[in-house]
Amino acid sequence: MATTTDDNSGVVATRPGALRFADVHHVYGQGASANPVLGPIDLDVPGGEFLCIVGASGCGKSTLLRLVAGFMPVSIGRITIDDREISAPGPDRGMVFQQPTLFPWRSVRGNVELALKLRGYPRGERRAEAERLLRQVGLGDAMHRRTYELSGGMQQRCATARALAGDPEVLLMDEPFGALDAITREHMQQELHALWRETHKTIVFVTHSVDEALILGTRAIVLGGRPGHVLLDLPLNLQRDAEGDTHHDAGYADLRSQISHAMDDDYQRSQSEVPR
């Protein structure tokens, strides 16, 4: 929620990390080879939201995330974070990719320290801060390991700690658990949710798993069509049980089928289109 009531004072505070997409389009290439992949996107993401984006592969999920990260300019429209226009990568956003993009020539802690250095963190405080971040993601015992010795799940934890360097308001995650086995994935989901509960950062989480979206998100959008746009936008207010699971909630099945239907319709439509 963007506005929460502070229990002590009753003052209404707005959480940082609010994203706003206004008539956003993206086109890859130019002239004859121009390929419009995204747009129009109009979205309001309040600070502190856990937004899950689902959609078939190729619908533009990664493109949308890359635009928020500032890796490339939008073709049309604007994206703002707390009313500042996004034009380049910035310390207010951290990114986690599907494949862990760790630097194998550095230790686990070295990776996070480099991130802090690039974020302009004072030299003397980097080590302690890196260790704090690694403990936060459950890698307190693996700080001195080489990254290539870690399991896939531990590598993604390290990548998450690295993305959290410099305390960004927004965490962008592009199918971060897509390459993990089912059990690891489940644990990572619970941990990420706990991290979100502690920090209440805005998280934009791309997945092609409807269940993952329902387990994690406070809101899900389905991206689809050509060029990609928002087909469905659903608030998810599912109750969690002691294990943090949401599928015991009575609303789970209904939300799941709504999202699945939107994706199925999109799939049917894409199959009847003449391939370009």
Partner: protein, 279 residues
């Protein structure tokens, strides 16, 4: 060497290594011994004249002579064997060092800028394709028959594989790795020093290994021109005087050094890029 304690901490490689770690080196040693025995028997039976196949004992005697002062003569042609070897190796490392010093920045430039690549690629490709000895004559005309021509030759032989390996590696850094460092706010220079260069290290090490092989064969051949002191020069000189035992001695030394250099560069590779093939 991996000790038992090292292995017990890493049970997976243990199973893989336990057989190969002693069996295959043993086979190699056996093969070398078998060769020496055949050589000895062939020489003993005088199947061919000693001018063609010297006896192992003659070669051993030349080894002793080349390594000591005998009847007032120092080593071979006034230099001990190790001095010949040292001369060759210092030329080789000079050329190789120059090759790395110039080849790495050149490779980065080739990999980073399409314009620079367009300008320099034909030249680099030609240098790589030509056998180094093809332009040796030209270098002798320019630099004389002294050491400079040989060092320049070795430099040219080394620089092309190093530059090309670096350029390929720099162009093939995984895109997400670059985006990851960009998302952390790295400048262009920081991206190059913190990510592009370390990412390229495995291929650069491979390029260095290729360059070492090329320079090694080149130095031996190049020393046929005014190569004394030098191991190639020693072989060439001995050939002129039909001292086949010295020629064979030189060949054996060259072979042993080649194997040692390869072992050394592999060890260096494991130290420098322990993540090779694992990340």
């Amino acid at each position: 060497m991996a000790t038992t304690t090292d292995l017990s901490q890493n049970p997976a490689p243990k199973r893989k290594r336990s057989r190969g770690s002693w069996l295959y080196p043993l086979i190699s040693v056996a093969a070398v011994l078998a060769f020496l025995i055949v050589w000895y028997l062939v020489a003993l039976a005088e199947v061919w004249k000693p001018l063609f196949v010297p006896r192992p004992s003659d070669v051993w005697e030349q080894f002793i002579r080349a390594s000591t002062t005998h009847d007032g003569n120092v080593g071979y042609s006034g230099e001990y064997l190790w001095q010949h070897l040292w001369s060759s190796m210092s030329r080789l490392f000079e050329g190789l060092a120059l090759g790395v010093l110039i080849g790495v920045p050149l490779g980065i430039a080739l990999g980073a800028s399409k314009t620079i690549a367009a300008i320099l690629h034909p030249g680099v490709t030609v240098i790589r394709s030509l056998p180094p000895l093809a332009y040796f004559s030209l270098l002798i005309i320019w630099f004389g028959i002294g050491d400079s021509a040989k060092v320049v030759l070795l430099f040219l032989a080394a620089v092309a594989p190093i530059a090309i390996a670096t350029a390929d590696a720099v162009g093939n850094v995984p895109i997400d790795r670059l985006l990851a460092v960009r998302s952390l706010g790295a400048s262009r220079l920081q991206t190059i020093t913190q990510v592009v260069l370390p990412s390229a290290l495995p291929e650069m090490m491979t390029g260095l290994r290729v360059a070492l092989g090329v320079t090694f064969t080149t130095i031996v051949a190049a020393e046929t021109v005014n190569g004394l002191p030098g191991i190639g020069g020693m072989v060439r000189d001995a050939q002129r005087f039909n001292k086949t035992d010295v020629v064979v001695l030189g060949i054996i030394v060259i072979g042993i050094v080649a194997v040692l250099l390869d072992i050394a560069i592999r060890a260096l590779d494991r130290r420098v890029v322990p993540w090779r093939g694992r990340a």
